[in-house]
């Protein structure tokens, strides 16, 4: 396996090192200064996540107000490095209880050092699963041997745990109420021309689970995807029910999914880890149901006036509604005055991002609100460069709607003791990069 990192740095937005860990001594401790002076303080920040300075490669990403920088001096596996960062952040979040930012890091120095020691060794990523690490790396203080008797808890054996047949689940779990939560989260990426034709569109989806189940349960999940349904219709030798089937691309499963059974029987069956985990990921490119259609008309009237008309149409069911819809309509930098008329929500001009920002908190299905705005520009000294017209960006969340049309057909839980379980299923569709050219 190739090296993923020689050193990892956590920096705040000003470029101060919050915490760092050197895994190999082939990079100097001052290399991060090069990052600060050559990347952070230039305009290139944010243009390319991989940069090479002075024989070292810097991989960086920003998470809330923290830059995580990985420095390597050899030919490293970039994808592996970024995956490591993402997983590490997920791990920290699960330890800190959700938030990962500068303050969280400052408050958890010791814990982070412990975790950094554990999750990577000499530049090679190790076990990053929060469930397992939490068994061994805890925030309990050191117990004085004289204060109380030693605990009865058996000392967990890490080796056995990791190398066992079901390495991701402990035995002997008991819950009073056996529950399973299943979320299907999809994000839609779209690039649409101003005429309304789709230039690029895909959906990336995740199936997230949270299990509170006793013992060693065996779960089976059925979706309305093509492979599963075909298999089923063959088995039962009867035509499938009406309704469309979904073709999933690039499906990735959590390690708990039994792949041999998936290959032979085409069913997703697994022994789940305890707590939260991501069961599978997928992508679809065909047959996407777009939740919104945007029809912009932006007219430049002379040198100093622009007329903006934007119509947004929600094309999901009338009973559903979208939340937190934000539409950002770019305007030229020299915008001086704006006036709006909107049929719902609120709009204002944000000079910091050079956009008209139109916010609609609750957006019911099958409606068509419009915005019309007049923008006045100030005349400038410099030769008027023609405005580049960046695309309109949109943010939203639509609960109980999947852009792919994916549905859970069944989720069966089977355990030796045969207890009853409660299953909860949710769907949500979010905007990825949802852009409409204007």
């Amino acid at each position: 396996m190739p090296v993923a990192a020689s050193a990892i740095y956590f920096l705040n937005l000003r470029g101060d090192v919050l915490i760092n860990r050197l895994y190999r001594d082939d990079v100097g401790g001052n290399m991060v200064d090069a990052f600060r002076t050559h990347i952070m303080q230039t305009k290139e920040l944010g243009t390319c996540p991989v940069r090479q300075i002075g024989g070292c490669s810097f991989f960086y990403m920003r998470i809330s107000n923290v830059y995580i920088v990985i420095v390597v001096s050899s030919n490293a596996n970039v994808a592996c490095a970024f995956k490591f960062v993402v997983e590490a952040v997920a791990l920290f979040k699960s330890y800190f209880g959700g938030a990962f930012d500068e303050d969280a890091i400052r408050n958890n120095f010791v814990l982070i050092y412990e975790l950094l020691d554990e999750i990577m060794d000499f530049g090679y990523p190790q076990n990053l699963s929060p469930e397992i690490l939490k068994l061994y790396i805890t925030q309990e203080g050191v117990r004085s041997p004289f204060s109380s008797k030693p605990t009865d808890k058996p000392v967990p054996n890490a080796t056995l745990q990791v190398t066992g047949a079901v390495g991701w689940r402990r035995e002997g779990l008991v819950y009073k109420k056996n529950e399973v939560f299943l979320d299907i989260v999809e994000s839609v990426n779209l690039l649409m021309s101003s005429k309304g034709s789709v230039l690029r569109c895909d959906v990336t989806g995740k199936v997230l689970m949270k299990c509170f189940l006793s013992g060693m349960p065996d779960l089976k999940l059925g979706l309305n995807d093509k492979i599963g349904l075909e298999k089923e219709s063959q088995l039962k030798s009867r035509p499938t029910k009406s309704g469309k089937t979904i073709e999933l691309d690039d499906v990735t499963f959590h390690q708990c999914v039994n792949l041999t059974r998936f290959n032979s029987e085409k069913t997703v069956s697994f022994v789940p880890p305890d707590g939260e985990f991501e069961l599978m990921k997928y992508r679809i490119t065909e047959g996407v149901n777009l939740p919104f259609r945007v029809l912009p008309t932006i007219k430049e009237l002379g040198r100093t006036r622009i007329e903006v008309n934007v119509k947004v149409k929600s094309v999901f069911g009338a009973k559903m509604f979208a939340l937190g819809v934000v539409i950002k309509i770019p305007v030229p930098k020299q915008t001086a005055k704006t006036s709006f008329q909107v049929t719902s929500g609120r709009a204002k001009y944000n000079a910091a991002i050079d956009c008209l920002v139109w916010k609609i908190r609750k957006f019911p299905g099958q409606t068509e609100p419009t915005l019309s705005a007049e923008v006045e520009l100030i005349s400038t000294m410099t030769e008027k460069k023609s405005w580049t017209r960046p695309p309109i960006q949109m943010e939203f969340q639509v609960p109980m709607f999947t852009a792919s049309g994916l549905r859970v057909r069944f989720l069966k839980v089977w355990e030796k003791s045969g207890y009853n379980t409660v299953e909860w299923v949710r769907y949500i569709t979010k905007a990825g990069s949802y852009e409409i050219r204007c």
């Binding site: 705040n12 937005l13 000003r14 470029g15 303080q41 020299q334 915008t335 001086a336 005055k337 001009y349 000079a351 910091a352 991002i353 050079d354 006045e376 100030i378 005349s379 400038t380 000294m381 410099t382």
Partner: protein, 1019 residues
């Protein structure tokens, strides 16, 4: 400031200061810019207060580095506001945001003008400041007269007039036309009568700028300047507020003396006397005191006075007084003063002949070399380097060597370089030079660049007397237990080449030499191994009779390295092995290296480069640099050990093959060269040219020990050293801007047709020298492109347009020539067949904004491929007869020949490498010459020439040319004809001797039968 009232502005600034990072700051700025835009767009208009506030914000944002491309209108409109606070913002922001090319400024011009001609002083000052800061052409054209009026009229307060003077200065720098009005010089002179010192200081700044460009118009100001200096020096009527620590206005003193330095001389004896009195007073009155500020001020005045003294070439007495003063300075404890003392001493050294006086302080300077402060050590090193000459070179170099082992690491490289150069330049004898360099390598091997040891090798190879000594020395050093790798390289090379010269000495048998060198092999790096392999091969070759054991040893080493991973080593090993198996043939192949072509010392070039970097562009420095080189020439010329003065040009080594034939022509050529230099070249630093030509001789050592005296002393040139001296002390004026070639290009070309080195082309920016060597049908030019300026020449391009008969290959010419540097571009020439066509060099470069392009003929002419051979009568006549009739033998009657005596014609032929064979022809009026022509197609070809002159009519002659190749015959005949008809104009024809008896044409029959000759005769 006025900001206190503006809450919005201070809130904004504190917001910005509280930003944690750049991104927050950017967001805040963008937000504020949006706000400002909205405000400016507001139809209702802004109150003056609001406008002022937002324009201040804009300026603040602009100063933070963000683009502000709007709001200029608002800023400009504030200029016309009636109140001071608004006007001030308007002026400041306009000056900051707009540059001279902005259209918006046109709107402002009228308002600004109104302010300038108005009676409100504050507004006048604001407007003048803004005009000075922007200072574009439009401002200059429309406002300069008003500004001049302000400056001249005495009805305004000094405050305004000061500003006006400075404003005019700024405008002048941008656009010199502003003061090109009639009578400005007189007004300037009147201004200098001003009593107010503030106005005077500002006007003096203006004057300095004016005279730095043209001093001619301002002669009338000179006595006034001296008067001002007098007034200051006597402390007459100086108001208290212009006295700084008891010194009357040091700033004005310095400026005035700076202005005086731009005038070439002070002619009026009275003025000169009073000026020297003042200088004397300054020199006498300055001393080191406790107070730092007072010291600073008085020293500033003093050093400027020193510069002026140097400039004026004062009497020796004053100079020695200066040096004495500086000597006092360098003995002071205070490092700053010592530094200044050393620096100025270095400067003095460059200008005048005070070396002997400075030498008295040598001990003190050497002590400064051990100062704890490195900048002082550097100065001391520079000074030592500068003051070194033949008389004290030995002491100084030894001192430097001693110091080397304790010197700072940062200095060692420079130190060793300088020691090497000094040793090279002033070596009393060459063995001393070798000693010094070997010591140098021994002591500071890491800091000795390759150039230094290459140079030693060149030296030793070129000087046979030195070889045994160097070899013995190298052998000694090899005995040391741990020696530096550079030492291994140089010793191995020298032993390989010259080790056999030591054969008789104990411990120097080939076997012993081999073993002592071979000991070093395991410890050296790959770059040294090839040198060692060559050494082994050479030792092996010199082993007579062959030693079986040594042979086996060496072969096994070659065998081992034959599979080395390094290509260079592998190739050498393989080739040496193969060669050494061939036995006797080895001796030819591995014979001693030929002598190196003379070239400019790479070391000196390197040192020049580093010096130029630190060069400041002030007038005094420029002058000093120009004079440095002449000083150098003078030291070179100083007779060492009482030998008679030697013409420097004679030292340029002629290629040995042509030295006999060329002797006379060289003589003439070089005298011509000197003549042209001293005649046409008063503008450019003549010493530079000499410096370039003298480049090669730096390694020749002192004249006493240089190899061949007949090359050094050329008879009949007694007057020339004077000419050289004269040209060296020609006053150096400002550089010309227009690029006119110096000297006649055609003349230079003709001169170069006869000799092999000289100047091909020269203008104020560049000098192209040429040096050629010819061997059979091949030749090698080296073009020396010398930049004479202190700024680099860019876009340098040289393209050769060769005629069809020459194959020419020019090596890469660098795109830029660094300041005051010389680059060499070798050019290979191969002659394919005889032809008279001339190759053309299309040369272009860019200086400033001028593109200069010249087309130069290259002296690769027919006669360069001739090789004179003497022919006896027995050889001549059979040849002459065997080549009968056209096209192998051509005859022609040439008319319109430049009349010249027969002897001179013989010389001319000789200079074309046509060897005149006396007494072959019975008729004394005829000349017979022979030569060999080389080209790729004809190989060596004998050519015979016969010229029959008519003593009665010297303008015509008959010429017969014969050779084995028809085209060669034709070309050679035409060539000689051209040369006889079109003579180089520089040659003065000698007195025509009394006409010898009439000669009969020897072969009238052949002349009639020869159609070519008939035709030529008819034409």
């Amino acid at each position: 400031m006025a900001l206190s009232g503006m809450r919005g502005l201070s809130v904004f600034i504190s917001d910005i200061r509280n930003c944690q990072n750049k991104e927050q700051e950017r967001l805040r700025v963008d937000k504020e810019l949006g706000n400002v835009r909205t405000r400016f767009k507001n139809e209702k208009g802004l109150t003056p207060y609001e406008k002022k506030k937002y324009v201040w914000k804009m300026l603040y944002i602009y100063m933070l580095g963000y683009d502000v491309d709007f709001g200029h209108m608002e800023a400009v409109s504030l200029i016309s506001a009636p109140k001071y606070p608004e006007k001030q913002v308007g002026y400041i922001v306009t000056a900051c945001l707009l540059n001279e090319n902005h259209d918006f400024l046109r709107i402002a011009i009228n308002t600004v003008r109104n302010d300038i001609i108005g009676r409100n002083e504050t507004f006048q000052c604001l407007a003048l400041t803004m005009v000075g800061n922007i200072g574009g052409r439009e401002f200059a054209e429309s406002l300069a007269p008003d500004v001049q009026k302000l400056l001249i009229s005495s009805s305004y307060r000094p405050l305004v007039r000061k500003k006006a003077a400075l404003c005019l200065l700024r405008l002048y720098r941008k656009n010199p036309d502003v003061v090109n009005v009639d009578g400005w010089a007189d007004r300037m002179a009147q201004l200098l009568d001003e009593r107010d010192l503030g106005v005077l200081t500002s006007s003096m700044s203006l004057l300095v700028a004016l005279v730095s460009n043209h001093y001619d118009a301002y002669w009338s100001c000179l006595p006034k300047c001296v008067k001002i200096l007098e007034r200051l020096a006597r402390n007459q009527d100086i108001p208290q507020e212009y006295t700084y620590y008891g010194i009357p206005s040091p700033w004005l003193q310095v400026r005035t003396m700076r202005a005086l330095q731009y005038f070439p001389t002070v002619e009026d004896p009275n003025t000169r006397r009073s000026l020297f009195e003042v200088l004397q007073r300054i020199l006498m009155g300055t001393d080191v005191v406790k107070n730092v500020n007072k010291n600073n001020a008085s020293h500033a005045v003093l050093f400027e006075a020193l510069a002026l003294v140097m400039h004026l070439d004062a009497e020796k007495e004053m100079m020695s007084q200066c040096v004495a003063l500086l000597g006092k300075f360098i003995a002071v404890r205070e490092p700053n003063i010592r530094y200044l003392g050393l620096e100025n001493m270095t400067r003095m050294l460059m200008v005048t002949d005070v070396q002997d006086i400075i030498k008295r302080h040598q001990a003190q300077i050497i002590t400064s070399l051990k100062d704890p402060d490195i900048s002082i050590r550097r100065r001391a090193l520079d000074l030592l380097y500068g003051m070194c000459d033949v008389s004290n070179a030995k002491d100084i170099v030894e001192e430097l060597l001693q110091y080397l082992s304790t010197a700072d690491f940062a200095m060692r490289e420079e130190l060793s370089l300088k020691a090497a150069i000094l040793a090279e330049k002033f070596a009393p004898d060459l063995s001393w030079y070798v000693d010094v360099i070997l010591q140098l390598i021994d002591k500071a091997g890491d800091f000795v660049s390759d150039d230094i040891w290459f140079r030693v090798v060149q030296f030793v190879t070129n000087n046979e007397d030195l070889q045994p000594y160097a070899a013995a020395k190298a052998r000694e050093y090899l005995d040391k237990p741990a020696i530096h790798e550079t030492m291994v390289k140089v010793s191995a090379y020298i032993i390989g080449e010259f080790g056999h010269l030591l054969a008789r000495r104990p411990g120097c048998s080939p076997k012993e030499l081999f073993s002592v060198i071979h000991e070093k092999l395991p410890a050296v790096t790959t770059s040294t191994v090839p040198i060692l392999l060559s050494t082994y091969a050479k030792i092996f070759m010199h082993t007579q009779p062959p030693d079986q054991e040594l042979q086996n040893q060496i072969w096994s080493i070659f065998n081992k390295y034959e599979s080395c991973i390094d290509v260079e080593i592998q190739q050498r090993a393989a080739e040496y092995l193969a060669l050494s198996r061939r036995g006797a043939a080895l001796v030819d192949i591995l014979a001693e290296m030929p002598k190196f072509p003379e070239r400019q010392s790479a070391l000196i070039k390197k040192a020049e480069d580093t010096e130029v970097d630190t060069a400041e562009q002030s007038a005094i420095k420029l002058r000093a640099q120009q004079q440095t080189s002449s000083a150098l020439v003078v030291t070179d010329q100083r007779p060492a050990n009482g030998t008679p003065p030697v013409n420097q040009l004679g030292l340029v080594k002629m290629p040995s093959m042509s030295s006999n034939a060329d002797h006379n022509s060289t003589d003439q050529g070089s005298s011509q060269e000197n003549g042209t230099l001293s005649q046409v070249d008063p503008q450019a630093p003549a010493a530079d040219i000499l410096g370039d030509l003298l480049g090669p001789l730096a390694i020749e050592g002192p004249p006493t020990t240089a190899g061949e005296p007949q090359q050094n002393v050329i008879p009949g040139l007694g007057g020339d050293p004077d000419a050289v001296d004269a040209s060296a002390i020609v006053p150096v004026g400002e550089e010309q801007n227009s690029v006119q070639p110096i000297g006649n290009i055609a003349e230079r070309f003709h001169a170069l047709c006869l000799k092999d080195s000289g100047v091909l082309y020269e203008d104020p920016n560049i000098q192209i020298g040429i040096k050629a060597e010819w061997r059979l049908h091949q030749g090698c030019f080296v073009l020396f492109l010398g930049n004479k300026n202190t700024s680099p020449l860019v876009s340098v391009q040289a393209i050769i347009l060769p005629p069809s008969h020459l194959k020419m290959e020019l090596s890469l010419v660098p795109d830029t020539i660094p300041p005051r540097a010389q680059v060499q571009c070798p050019l290979e020439v191969v002659n394919l067949r005889p032809s008279r066509d001339v190759a053309v060099l299309d040369f272009s470069y860019k200086f400033g904004n001028n593109m200069v392009n010249v087309k130069l003929r290259l002296p690769a002419v027919l006669n360069k491929f001739l090789q004179p051979i003497p022919v006896s009568a027995e050889e001549f006549f059979p040849q002459w007869r065997s080549l009968s009739g056209p096209p192998l033998k051509l005859q022609e009657v040439v008319r319109g020949v430049k009349p010249m005596p027969l002897v001179e014609m013989a010389n001319l032929l000789n200079s074309f490498r046509l060897m005149v064979c006396p007494a072959l022809d019975p008729n004394p009026n005829n000349l017979v010459a022979s030569t060999t022509f080389y080209s790729e197609s004809t190989r060596a070809m004998l050519c015979l020439v016969r010229i029959e002159t008519d003593p009665a009519d010297r303008t015509q002659l008959r010429m017969t040319v014969a050779s084995g190749d028809p085209s060669l015959t034709l070309e050679l005949k035409e060539f000689i004809k051209e040369q006889l008809v079109i003579m180089p104009t520089a040659r003065a024809p000698g007195p025509v001797p009394p006409a010898p008896p009439v000669a009969q044409p020897t072969s009238p029959v052949s002349a009639l039968t020869d159609p070519g000759a008939m035709l030529a005769g008819l034409l």
